[in-house]
């Protein structure tokens, strides 16, 4: 196992919490896989297209070759003889799983945005870029797939500049593109990095060949100009015509990146194992440690007006954000936590300050994709997971019981599509409710509701793929078979003209028979009629949301006990609908029925007795 992964105390300067974000198929997971390989976390590279990537551990992810859940993995990387711990979050690129990206960004300190060198900026890159802006996440960019035919570093760079309105500063320059992609020029050291084998383990730094010299010089000049422009101190120095060293440039670029004023651009091909080590170096060099970003702020749970601040230090009172709940097939409910200040220890009791409830911390684990390792505590600035937190949900804050704080919740997009789901058997019905509840807990963009009118169970989510995956998980993980379909729309019926109806009901079943005769008038009404219907001394009215029932019997010729059951009968019938059996009858706001009633005295027959309900 790599260094710095277990329980040794973390020096925050040597910690990076980063996420890999990009458009679908730009190569996020491939890049992640390479990072894990070079950092010694895995010994064989698993390929996404073969369904063997480490972070895509769900069956659905392996089959589809896409990432669905953001997996958090710890790894380490040595730069200038110092071991750094990198908490890496691989995020999904598909728009349906945008919530995963959003909650990852909330807890990350920095991001690596991967671009497809052929396509340049793609729609989802724009979306994640905007989200990263929102959370003020500093980023570096990796222009991937430069070995593919049609790839162009220049064009990709241009699209980043134009479509993302950002300030990209290339710190590398490719040697050839497409099939001719041979190596990468490091614009700081002005060396050409070439690869002796396809595994990317035999790296040579050589002199830049003559045919590339001129272009490389020009690229370096542009880089220097851009860095100087982004940093005030350097601008001044430049104007004074003082010498500026590479170290100063490097430091200035780090400052500009963390302040979100610039994004260093790197290039390579993750699939062909080119440029990944340099990407890791850049992560260490340019992305912030937890100490470099502003300290976290929150509110006092007892008084929302009071703003509290917590420094990223173990000495501060505990504040931690639960950013993801996952159901693990082996260990059950897993809560991913970013600790902002203080230390979260096993066996301690903390307050869920969002709900004001106490939580006992059972096991804490560090995640390595789908494998895990038990740890005793999570320090300030670190990301790990807790088992068996029963009452805590995504976006809630855990804090020290005596110093509670509530951190800002993660906001999620509202679900946009709905499908109806129906269990195949009664046994499935019971399991389904439970399973849906669990899935909804994991995923804040997935909602379950029951339509009271149609009686259908509806699933609401972010897209068809999102719901398809959930239904698939229902089948595999929870063994629930269900059919899905288009949600039923609840129609209404209404009458469009007035009628007067005289109905007689007769039944004789031996003994006492039943007899009733009712005369009613029905007429369409409008919403304003409904609102304006008031009971007064000369109008006896009953109304609900759909109709007005007016009793026009005068002089007590008809016993009151007959009127109420008649109205109840009307209401019974209105539940059913007349035109299409199962629909509701009724009266939408613009068309309503008024049964105004007139009564004739029922005829009595000697053999029958009228019985009222």
């Amino acid at each position: 196992m790599a260094k710095g992964s277990a329980n040794e105390k973390l020096d925050l300067r040597y910690l990076r919490n980063i996420g890999i974000i990009a458009h679908i198929d730009a190569g996020k997971t491939t890049t992640t896989e390479r990072i894990l390989y070079y950092t010694g976390m895995i010994h064989k590279i698993g390929e996404v297209h073969e369904g063997a990537a480490t972070t895509d551990w769900m069956a659905q992810e392996k089959e589809r070759g896409i990432t669905i859940t953001a997996a958090a993995i710890t790894s380490s990387w040595t730069r200038h003889d110092q071991a750094y711990t990198i908490n890496l979050i691989d995020t999904p690129g598909h728009v349906d799983f945008t919530a995963e990206v959003q909650r990852s960004l909330r807890v990350l300190d920095g991001g690596v945005v991967v671009f497809d060198g052929v396509a340049g900026v793609e729609p989802q890159s724009e979306t994640v870029w905007r989200q990263a802006n929102e959370y003020k996440v500093p980023r570096i960019c990796f222009i991937n797939k430069l070995d593919r035919t049609g790839a162009s570093f220049e064009r990709s760079l241009d699209s980043i500049r134009k479509r993302l309105t950002s300030n990209p500063i290339p710190i590398q320059y490719p040697y050839g593109d497409g099939d001719a992609f041979k190596g990468i020029v490091d614009l700081f050291s002005m060396e050409l990095v070439t690869y002796g084998n396809d595994l990317g383990t035999d790296i040579k730094r050589v002199e830049i060949p003559a045919d590339l010299r001129e272009e490389a010089e020009e690229a370096r000049q542009q880089m220097m100009d851009a860095i100087i422009e982004a940093d005030e101190a350097l601008t001044e120095k430049f104007l004074m015509e003082e010498e500026i060293s590479d170290e100063e440039l490097h430091a200035a670029l780090r400052r500009a990146t963390i302040a979100n004023k610039a994004q260093p651009i790197l290039c390579g091909s993750a699939l062909k194992n080119k440029g990944v080590q340099m990407l890791l170096d850049a992560v260490i060099d340019f992305l912030p440690s937890p100490l470099d970003i502003p300290s976290v702020t929150g509110t006092d749970p007892n008084d929302e007006e009071v703003l509290l601040e917590r420094q990223p230090s173990d000495e501060e009172p505990l504040s931690a954000l639960v950013f993801k709940i996952a159901t693990d097939p082996f260990v059950g409910r897993l809560a991913f936590i970013r600790v902002y200040s203080g230390v979260l220890r096993t066996g301690s009791t903390v307050t869920n300050s969002t709900q004001g409830k106490r939580e006992r911390i059972g096991r804490l684990v560090r995640m390595f994709a789908d494998k895990r390792e038990d740890i005793e505590e999570i320090h300030a600035g670190d990301i790990a997971a807790a088992l068996s937190l029963k009452n805590t949900f995504t976006g809630e804050t855990l804090s020290a019981p005596d110093k509670p704080i509530v951190l800002e919740k993660i906001s999620f997009p509202v679900p946009v599509i709905e499908i109806a789901i129906e269990p195949q058997s009664n046994a499935d019905r019971d399991k389904m409710a439970d399973a849906l509840h669990k899935l909804a807990e994991e995923d804040p963009t997935f909602q379950v509701k029951t339509d009271e009118e149609t009686g259908q169970t509806l699933l609401k989510g972010m897209g068809e793929l999102h719901l398809e995956v959930l239904v698939d998980r229902l089948r595999r993980e929870f063994k629930v078979d269900a059919n899905v379909g288009k949600p039923r729309v609840s129609y209404r019926e209404a009458i469009t003209k007035s009628v007067r109806i005289d109905t007689t009901f007769k039944r004789q079943t031996g003994g006492s028979g039943q007899y009733a005769r009712v005369v009613m008038e029905f007429e369409p009404i409008t919403e304003s009629d409904l609102e304006g219907a008031e009971e007064s001394s000369d109008r006896k009215i009953f109304r609900d949301e759909q109709f007005i029932f007016e009793d026009q019997i005068r002089g007590g010729t008809i016993p009151k006990e007959w009127i109420k059951p008649t109205m109840m009968g009307v209401m019974d019938a209105m539940k059913g609908g007349v035109l299409a059996g199962t629909r509701w009858l009724v009266c939408g706001p613009s068309w309503l029925t008024v049964p105004s009633t007139t009564w004739t005295r029922p005829k009595w027959r000697s053999a029958l007795r009228v019985r009222c309900a």
Binding site: V95, P123, Q124, E126, T127, V416, I417, M462, G463, E464, K486, V489, S490, Y491, R492, E493, A494, I495, T496, K497, S498, V499, I501, T503, T504, F505, R507, Q514, Y515, A516, V518, M520, F522, P524, W562, I563, P565, T566, M568, G569, V570, D572, A573, M574, G577, V578, L579, A580, R583, L585, V586, G588, P589, S590, W591, T593, P595, V610, C612, A613
Partner: protein, 113 residues
């Protein structure tokens, strides 16, 4: 009980004779997307029996389109909108009111029921 049954029968008969109509829920839909796609979006909404109410620029090359569309026609819209706009369009919808359905749809509903 007799009056209850009579009341129920009376209403059923009455409704049948009073030219009943079927009403469907309609949604107020707002689509926000880059200008390049507004033509396609409006065309698609119309094919979903939508009534376009208006369109206004939102700045930065993005416009918002407002329309009233029957709920029954909105199935699959999120996916359609994404493929039409390369994932750059967004929409929201809320209940607007009930409205009478056209004859062709009415027949479909009655067959289905």
């Amino acid at each position: 009980m007799a009056f209850r049954i009579a009341g129920s029968m009376c209403l059923k008969e009455g409704v049948q004779k009073a030219s009943p109509a079927i009403l469907e829920p309609r949604m107020r839909v707002e689509v926000v997307a880059p200008d390049d796609y507004t033509g396609d979006i409006i065309g698609n909404l119309s094919s979903r029996r939508g009534i376009i109410e208006g369109m206004e620029p939102r700045g930065e090359g993005v416009s918002s389109i407002r329309a009233i569309v029957p709920l029954g026609e909105m199935f699959g819209y999120a996916t359609d909108l994404r493929s039409m706009t390369q994932g750059r369009g967004n929409f929201t919808m809320e209940f607007s009111g009930y409205h009478q359905v056209p004859q062709s749809i009415r027949e479909e509903i009655m067959k289905g029921g």
